[in-house]
């Protein structure tokens, strides 16, 4: 663009006819088309069908169906609240105000993996715990943890491939084992992670389960020193292995009912343990465990003393986005983190606009 040469300034518009005019109109059309095209391309509407957050959530809906108002994954859950008492020791590696000695309110949500809210509880189901730490001055720390020692997938693409591979075959109503076998052949890192996951027996209930951050995060302390960190919530309650399946058959909500009964008996507590990476420990690969001898910091005790149904609790309408972080904790180079944030947000937007179906764990049940 720019100003026209001066000598043309007095030319009347009508004097531009024929080829010159067509060419100039064409220039305008091309400029507009290019900008519009770039916009459409950036939005993923044209070109390759790349994996977008919307398509990821579509994948969950394809496999589990659409259950209005529920999370597309970890659909079944209960809301809890309580407080975190920081020991002050975490301040050694992070300047986040959550690690200054003191007490902070928390809300959370226990859940089971999968997108079917009315599915029966099973010992082998992935157990989730989302926690929101309410820090001073409007800051928050949100974390969504599960009971697995490592995450089975290294990248969002691998997660999505496995999600589709695990979809029930319309002919048999069950996942096609050949598809899963092919996935594991293509993703040996997932095969070893799943082997490690299967080697660990789940605990008897939510109250004695250890929850892990899985992904690594970057901690910065007040001196500007950085560390790669993972964390775990380790139950203060004594842990027992899961009972035989036959006991569990009678109650489809036995894990949640056990949690409700336990919390009504007395507050449940977990220690927040920060694990600092040693040299060579990967920060970008959640399928690989870090050696057990790494430095561990006891950052404080999480106490949960109140339980509520998703129907009445606060946590149903909270997105436990793992990248809602306080100053002093930030995302690592793990490719799962940005993808989790993006997909959770897409899921949140879909379900918040929907009519809410009642939770399988009703307010009557959590009040018992």
């Amino acid at each position: 663009m720019g100003s026209e040469p001066n000598q043309l300034s007095d030319a009347a518009p009508v004097s531009f006819g024929g080829a010159g005019l067509v060419l100039r109109l064409l220039v305008i059309a091309v400029v507009i088309a290019v900008i519009a095209g770039l916009f459409l391309d950036a939005g993923g509407w044209i070109g390759s069908r790349k994996l977008t957050p919307a398509r990821f959530v579509d994948g969950f809906e394809q496999v589990f169906g659409v259950h209005a108002g529920f999370r597309r994954n970890h659909a079944k859950g209960v809301d809890v609240s309580g407080y975190f008492e920081s020991s002050g020791q975490g301040a050694d590696i992070s300047k986040a105000s959550v690690f200054l000695a003191g007490r902070l309110p928390v809300v959370g949500r226990f859940s089971l993996g999968g997108g079917k809210p009315y599915a029966a509880d099973a010992a082998q189901s992935v157990r989730g715990l989302g926690i929101l730490f309410q820090l001073p001055h409007g800051e928050e720390w949100r974390t969504a943890m599960v009971n697995l020692p490592v995450f089975p997938f290294r990248t969002p693409q691998a997660f999505y491939e496995q999600l589709l591979a695990s979809a029930p075959d319309p002919a048999t109503g069950k996942p096609d084992p050949a598809k899963m076998k092919l996935f594991l052949e293509q993703h040996p890192e997932s095969a070893s992670a799943i082997q490690l996951i299967r080697s660990q027996k789940p605990a008897s209930g939510f109250d004695d389960t250890t929850f892990n951050s899985l992904n690594s995060f970057r901690f910065v302390n007040s001196l500007g020193e950085t560390a790669s960190v993972r964390w775990s919530l380790i139950p203060v309650q004594s842990s027992n292995p899961a009972q035989a399946e036959s006991v569990q058959q009678s109650d489809t909500n036995y894990l949640f009912d056990g949690l409700i009964a336990a919390i009504h008996k007395g507050p449940l507590q977990w220690r927040l343990i920060l694990t600092v990476a040693g040299p060579g420990d990967p920060s970008d690969d959640a399928t690989i465990p870090w050696p057990p001898d790494r430095r561990k910091i006891d950052a404080g005790i999480l106490t949960l003393d109140h339980i509520e149904s998703d129907d009445t609790g606060l946590a149903r309408d909270i997105n436990f986005d793992p990248l809602v972080l306080p100053n002093g904790i930030s995302a690592s180079d793990d490719p799962l983190l940005s993808a989790r944030s993006a997909v959770y947000s897409q899921d949140f937007t879909r379900r918040e606009g929907e009519h809410k179906e009642p939770s399988p764990i009703s307010a009557a049940e959590t009040g018992k």
């Binding site: 100003s3 030319a11 305008i28 997105n319 990248l323 993006a342």
Partner: protein, 187 residues
């Protein structure tokens, strides 16, 4: 010159081009981030503070717009064109305010902390409410598409005047040096 300007004031021109770049960047960041897994977090971290900066600049720009005299429309613009130009200007100003405010309100209603940078947060401007969040989230998208279409119409009109009518309309907003000429006030 002040009473009968041929150009927009230097501040108006600086604000125009600065905000043009910011708004266009914002539209592309917005549309890219919602379609991205890997870059989502990085882009959102830019999108939020950039949106608030646009809101602040929009307020400065509105005050500036009310305090300055505009150069006249070139005689090459018909009455209908002048009406459309004024209407689209009003729409652009409305969107410059509405998009950041809806975004801020949407995060408030969605129970999100409104992170700017480091420990700096903005307060919520609306109560946490799922339905309100869902409505504002959709509104944010629709307004963004409307802004993009209005921008394309604005750009088409300027290109039409510059390349077809050659009436030096763009010179009024130029940040680059332009030689004075009489075409605007002639004809």
């Amino acid at each position: 010159m002040a009473s009968n300007p041929t150009h927009f004031t230097p501040l108006s021109r600086i604000l125009h081009w600065l905000m043009a770049a910011m708004l266009l960047a914002m539209l592309f960041i917005g549309v890219s981030m919602v379609a991205s897994l890997g870059d989502y977090h990085r882009l959102v971290a830019i999108h939020r503070p950039l949106g608030i900066m646009i809101l602040i600049l929009a307020a400065i720009r509105l005050v500036n717009r009310m305090l300055t005299t505009l150069p006249p429309f070139p005689p090459t613009m018909s009455r209908r064109e002048r009406f459309l130009a004024s209407a689209s200007e009003r729409l652009l100003y409305t969107l410059m305010f509405a998009l950041p405010l809806v975004g801020w309100g949407m995060l408030s209603a969605g129970h999100y902390p409104i992170v700017m940078f480091g420990p700096v947060h903005l307060p919520a401007i609306l109560p946490a409410d799922p339905t309100l969040y869902a409505i504002l989230r959709k509104t944010h998208t629709i307004l963004a598409y409307l802004l993009f279409l209005t921008f394309l119409a604005h750009l088409s009109a300027v290109l039409f005047h510059t390349l077809i009518k050659r009436d030096h309309l763009l010179d009024r907003m130029a940040l680059w040096p332009v030689r004075t000429h009489g075409s605007i006030n002639k004809n």
